[in-house]
């Protein structure tokens, strides 16, 4: 690996900000940008970072009502039909309890392998009474934290603990054009304390540009009014540069996205889009939708940051909560015996207690 060059201004070696048009190579997703991201972090930490990166594991959770284009969005993100959208058959009743479905794929680009696990939540918010429909999701996320914790507290633990914790939850907001619904607010309030949440306006092709902007402002107002901190969270901005970059992102969240997995010919170019009778909606055209911003955020610029915050903040928070729970139990020989995980894993630990530690050395699986 090349020795890291010291550049006078760290900004020049930053990955391109979401504002600049990304590389338009066909089929290029940008996974190897994670190496750049790791380099930047290593530079800030001030020591040499020797990476033998083999596989980068990333877990995403997609949630929102059915029909909002979650499965199509994943295909669009990876430009490959890795996720077949399954419609429940007519004879199959809508699942009464929420069942989560995970699919794992390994995608390789320029020598960098990405093991992406996407978890879908069909049936969320589709019932008449949606009270507590967020419980299975919270239970799942906390269950993954618990699994990691159990591995971590073993005497002989693995060098690379398999990381199944959810790094990012993409929440699909239906394009009503008005404001966040009570269900959205309830869900986001609970989840933003447990996982990194990125809300997006789904199926944004049903809103005009003005409606989109007005909707976005109202959502931002609602998020502030209900104290919902979505990713990128303000309190985790490390320095002024981060703050500037993240402020730009925060100003545009939630992104208005359109998903498409079909290609069409536009002006001699083959583009991903939706063909209607009055025009073709190009997914990668910033004038049409903000899908490139979402892709850049999730993959090209903030992939590593998402993992770090999950590991250093959300997971640590959960760990502190669990250790406090087991405080009353007598200590075992040499290490803390954790009380068995509570049956109800939906209890959220509460506001963030663990602050970001800039010098935390993360030598787990990257």
């Amino acid at each position: 690996m090349d020795p890291l060059r010291w550049s006078p201004s760290p900004c020049t070696s930053r990955p391109p900000s979401p504002r600049t048009p990304p590389c338009e190579m066909l089929g290029h997703v940008g996974i190897e940008a994670v190496l750049e991201q790791l380099k930047i972090k290593a530079m800030k930490m001030g020591f040499e970072f020797n990476i033998m990166v083999v596989v980068i594991a990333v877990i995403w959770l997609l949630t929102g009502q059915s029909g909002l284009g979650k499965s199509t969005m994943v295909n669009t993100l990876f430009k490959s039909k890795m996720w077949k959208s399954t419609l429940p058959g007519l004879g199959v009743p809508m699942p009464q309890t929420l069942q989560l479905q995970s699919v794992t794929h390994i995608i390789e680009e320029n020598g960098v392998k990405l093991k992406l696990t996407v978890t879908d939540t069909p049936g969320f918010g589709d019932q008449i009474n949606n009270d507590k429909c967020w419980d299975p999701i919270l239970g799942y996320i906390n269950g993954q934290y618990e699994r990691y914790l159990q591995e971590e507290i073993l005497i002989t633990r693995q060098r690379h603990i398999p990381d199944t914790r959810v790094h990012c939850c993409v929440y699909f907001v239906p394009p009503t054009g008005h404001c966040l619904r009570p269900l959205d607010i309830e869900f986001l309030q609970r989840l933003c304390r447990t996982v990194n949440v990125v809300p997006v306006i789904a199926r944004a092709d049903s809103l005009t540009i003005e409606e989109r902007e007005a909707f976005r402002r109202r959502i931002q107002h609602d998020l502030r009014a209900h104290c919902i901190e979505v990713y990128p969270q303000k309190c985790f901005d490390e320095d002024i540069n981060d703050r500037i970059l993240n402020s730009k992102i925060r100003d545009r969240i939630p992104f208005a996205v359109v998903g498409a997995d079909q290609e069409h010919l536009v002006n001699g170019r083959c583009v991903l889009g939706r063909k209607t009778k009055w025009g073709i909606i190009e997914v990668e055209n910033m004038a049409h939708c903000e899908f490139p911003l979402l892709r850049d955020l999730l993959i090209r610029s903030h992939l590593q940051d998402l993992k770090d915050i999950t590991h250093n903040v959300h997971y640590e928070n959960y760990r502190v909560f669990r250790l406090n729970q087991s405080h009353a139990l007598p200590r075992g020989p040499g290490w803390v015996n954790l009380a068995p995980a509570p049956a109800d894993l939906t209890a959220t630990p509460g506001p963030w207690k663990v602050r970001w530690q800039a010098h935390d050395s993360s030598d787990e699986e990257c």
Partner: protein
């Protein structure tokens, strides 16, 4: 005989008014002619003088298209809408999540025909976390209107009965789902025996043609599967011309209609049209290739408006009335006291004159009940 009439007589006849002349000619030609063929014209004249009324209900989570409450259905009728109508969907100001019923009335006139259009809006439907029975305020409202009409009809003074019964309910289905959602099924099953339901697919501009086709098929299958009785277009008469029959067929095959709502006028191909402006193109609301708005308007107004009213009066209201009377008689057999037989819904306290009228009405009803009792006895004896 007339052929023998003198030429002067014929001249005199020609100078007479054309009407009497025509009448005379008719009389001469066909002595069997009575003249009641002009009845439809008489009915037409009277109706035009009296004017029509129509009550349209709008329901569904996606009924609130950006543009405000009630504006879109009013646009169906090209009705003017004052901007002073307050915007109802500021969530920041809403405190409770219950469904509200809001009525707006508009008087429209076209070619001398007056229409009093009432739009009943239902903001808040399907909006809460727990939507169990969220259609109850709506069913209560519909029942209330039936009950009001029943009282008026059974009353003494029946000259000016105001018909506030809901003639048609436009139910908006989300284009994002994969068919009907549980709340859609719940709503339609609660209301299909009370009101004519016309299901629509809202925000159809977010779907490509293939998706619209699939969604329509799926919705039709699910409507059959759940046994929902939506409004059926009547069969056209066999003596109608082929064009009309073809139109009718197309109409039936397009159900449920996929519509787009727009209150803005945009420039498209040098013309000013009602539509929505996107960066990738302009959706024209009145373009049949873009959405079914024109089909809906034709169906609702031009061809089936009266049928909707007829079905409401002859089927839904009669069902309600029969059910009411049945309840009355069963209550009578259980309870010997002469209480007010009509199912009670809260009414404002009446003044002295109305009290008197109510007492007289009650007397009449008591007499009716006695008659029914006698009839029942007779039937039992047989």
């Amino acid at each position: 005989m007339d052929s023998l009439a003198a030429p002067q007589d014929r001249l005199v006849e020609q100078l007479l008014s054309p009407r009497t002349q025509a009448q005379r000619r008719l009389k001469d030609v066909d002595k069997q002619y009575v003249g009641f063929a002009t009845l439809p014209n008489q009915v037409h004249r009277k109706s035009v003088k009296k004017g029509f009324d129509f009550t349209l209900m709008v329901a569904g989570e996606w009924a609130w298209l950006p543009g405000g409450a009630g504006q879109w259905p009013a646009r169906l009728f090209m009705a003017p809408w004052t901007d002073s109508t307050p915007s109802l969907y500021l969530w920041v100001e809403r405190i409770n999540q219950t469904v509200e019923i809001l009525k707006h009335t508009v008087d429209i006139e076209e070619k001398g025909v007056k229409l009093k259009l009432t739009i009943v809006d239902t903001p808040g439907f399907g909006d809460a976390v727990n939507n169990s029975e969220c259609w109850k305020p709506i069913t209560d409202y519909v029942d209330q209107q039936f009950e009001q009409y029943f009282r008026d009809e059974s009353g003494l003074n029946r000259k000016n009965i105001q018909d506030n019964r809901v003639h048609c309910c436009l139910y908006f289905i989300s284009p994002f789902g994969h068919g009907l959602r549980p709340v859609d099924v719940g709503f339609m099953k609660a209301l299909h025996e009370k009101v004519n339901i016309v299901p629509l697919i809202a925000k159809a501009d977010c779907l490509v043609p293939g998706e619209i086709r699939k969604l329509k098929e799926r919705i039709r299958e699910e409507i059959d599967k759940f046994g929902i009785h939506v409004y059926q277009f009547p069969e056209c008469d066999s003596d109608e011309d082929e064009d009309f029959k073809q139109q009718d067929r197309e109409l039936k095959e397009s159900a449920p209609f996929a519509v787009i709502g727009s209150n803005t006028v945009v420039e498209a191909k040098g013309q000013r049209v009602r539509g929505r402006l996107y960066p990738w193109g302009i959706v024209e609301v009145e373009n049949q290739a873009h959405c079914d708005f024109v089909k809906l308007r034709n169906m609702l107004i031009r061809t089936h408006m009266h049928d909707l009213k007829d079905v409401t009066c002859d089927v839904h209201y009669e069902n309600y009335r029969a059910h009411c009377i049945q309840q009355m008689t069963s209550k009578l057999t259980q309870d010997s006291r002469m209480e007010s037989p009509i199912p009670i819904l809260p009414l404002p306290t009446p003044d002295a004159e109305t009290e008197k009228l109510i007492r007289m009405k009650d007397e009449e009803l008591r007499r009716m009940q006695e008659m029914l009792q006698k009839m029942k006895q007779q039937m039992q004896d047989q």
